[in-house]
């Protein structure tokens, strides 16, 4: 179990120390939220702000666990295998198993271009 004070330092100097008020763009987060399903129609202004911080914590945890796997393998470069091992070893990352398994099955590594269509539903 991690210490409770691991993220307290980020919150104290987090806002003023960054290049902008948020580390991730809010419009991009809102667009991804709207594309995640047909039921998502209206999003309040605070939801992307919560997600910008939540994604920050998520990426940090994923990076840290991947780095632990890389250190166990005596390497200094993070590879896909490290990320896949970290995802498999952690229970809360089970929703990413399809992502890493699809990436491993396609050995070429070409990512599929997911197209999107703008939908306006304020009728």
């Amino acid at each position: 179990m991690r210490q409770a004070g691991a993220y307290s330092g980020l919150l104290c100097g987090g806002v003023s120390g960054r290049t902008g008020p948020h580390s991730l763009p809010l419009a991009r987060i809102k667009k991804i939220m709207k594309n995640s399903g047909e039921g998502v129609k209206m999003i309040s202004g605070e939801a992307p702000i919560i997600f910008s911080k939540a994604c920050d914590l998520f990426i940090e945890e994923l990076t840290r666990r991947s780095w632990i796997m890389a250190i166990q393998g005596k390497r200094r470069t993070l590879h896909k295998e490290d990320l896949a091992s970290a995802v498999i070893a952690t229970d809360i990352f089970d929703f990413l198993i399809t992502l890493v398994s699809n990436s491993d099955s396609h050995a070429v590594g070409g990512a599929t271009n997911v197209m999107e269509v703008e939908t306006i539903d304020y009728s």
Partner: protein, 231 residues
Amino acid sequence: MAISLPINSNNGDRVPNLVLRDKSKMPITNMMKIMSQILLNNVQVSYDTMDMIQQSATKYINFVTRKAKDRCQSECRKIMNAEDLLWAIEELGFNDYVEPLTTFIQRYRNIEGVDLFTTHKEPISHIENHGPSLGPEPNLMSTLEMLHPPQPPQVNSSQPKFSIIPNTNLEMLYPNEMSSTKIHLVLVVQMMFSTTLMFLLSSIMINIEMIIEEIQLQLTIMAMDYDIGNK
């Protein structure tokens, strides 16, 4: 449980693929900044790993958003707010995130009016309730105003007067006007051109008719002379 991203139909004739693909992911520069806080200086990240972490972040947002949507639908609400996301994050097992996120959102609400956030483009509806309890629904109109993109303000300048006299209109053509004024000028010029063209055609037709009558008269006189000459 396997969750796959919805694959939409291809609409690539208007927008190139790279632009839309970039918009559906987190920007890689911001993620590199976040990751550099955890890793040491001598640790490098391959391109495949960075791409996979990009997709992981997108899948994380979709995963949590769907869980929050289930709560909104069960409570018959249409606006997804911060408490729904915190509940979904806790339900999905990310218990360590809830406390820093709660602290973050409380501090954000307290310092909402500070100059650091004046560059924020979207207005934020301030939700007064704290904790996971069922709060009142925020104002619908303010939310609608927030969701719609703000329209750029249009300059409503007074329209200049236009008359049929060509000299006056020619003077108005030279100064640089607004786009709507230019459209109006183009219409006026087209009207003037049509009027002038009709006038010229009418004049030509009148001249032709006069010439034809004169030719017929001359032919009649010549015929009479010919008859007299024969006798």
